[in-house]
Amino acid sequence: MSLSPAQQLDATLARIPYARFLGVRGELAGDEMTLIMPFSPHLIGNVTLPAIHGGVLGAFLEMTALAQLSIAQGLARQPRPIDVTVEYLRSGRPVESYARAQIKRLGRRVANVHVEAWQEARSRPIAALHGHFHVSPSDGVPA
């Protein structure tokens, strides 16, 4: 209750084992959230290039969408993905990655979210996601 939004974001990510597995942390500037995934060798999918695993990038984008939705909803409940499409634009190099989400529409039950991830330059995204998420508070099963 007395936690700032930034502290709530940290607390939420710290509670999720898989966020710790990826090593993801968050930064908040006003209502603009950036998730950061520092490079770690276990994130590599292709050792020859080397490149971060495509699934890891998809997971990172999805986590960014979920975290942004949680902030928009006051972190009260965990949204759930309905469907996502991930586009791979450039290979994920073995450096720190960043992602920001934009909620295109937040309805009563469903939200539409776009996310982009980048490394050295935001103008050169490495992957993008657009997807739908359940945000309604009480429905235990998909509508």
């Binding site: 509670r15 999720i16 084992p17 898989y18 710790r20 597995f21 990826l22 060798p41 276990h42 994130l43 590599i44 999918g45 292709n46 050792v47 020859t48 695993h53 495509g54 699934g55 890891v56 998809g58 997971a59 990172f60 999805e62 986590m63 965990q78 759930r80 993905p81 309905i82 469907d83 996502v84 499409t85 991930v86 586009e87 791979y88 290979s91 099963v141 998909p142």
Partner: protein, 150 residues
């Protein structure tokens, strides 16, 4: 020369750090179809209140299984790059259960592979998620002439 195509694929899997970190395992690899498993582990949980494994783990499993299906279809481990991956989440995985994924590379052109996949825990007919992916073949392969890498 001494290794079969399947052994090569398994070796590649063992060399993939993310697959090793997840504990991912190839169960079968034949024709254009690959089946993989990721074991349930507490550190892969996405919702601490329910113990349900993270959607991102299913995403990685589906992506990886689709890639394996492409290599199974080509009959050789070959460099590929995911162009896009669409995932529909049908239901939450049951806490405590391993997750399986089965992918079918149903169309292969000289430069692109199209794949469908499903992830499930108890029953392949009751999937946790389904996926559709397209891959670019980025390296020279035996079954088709090499194209210049962009």
């Amino acid at each position: 020369m001494a290794l079969s195509v399947e052994e090569l694929a398994l070796q590649k899997m063992r060399e993939c750090p993310q697959a090793v970190a997840l504990g991912m395992e190839t169960l079968s690899w034949e024709g254009p179809v690959a089946t993989l498993r990721v074991p349930y582990k507490p550190e892969l949980v996405g919702d601490p209140d329910t113990g349900v494994i993270a959607g991102g783990v299913v995403t990685t499993l589906l992506d990886h299984t689709c890639g394996q299906a492409v290599m199974a279809a080509l009959g050789a481990p070959t460099p590929i790059a995911t162009l896009d991956l669409r995932i529909d989440y049908m239901r939450a995985a049951e806490p405590g259960l391993d997750i399986f994924a089965r992918a079918h590379c149903y169309k292969l052109t000289r430069s692109i592979a199209f794949v469908r996949a499903a992830a499930y825990d108890r029953d392949a007919e009751d999937p946790v998620a389904t996926a559709q992916a397209a891959f670019m073949l980025t390296g020279p392969i035996d079954t088709a002439p090499a194209e210049p890498v962009p």
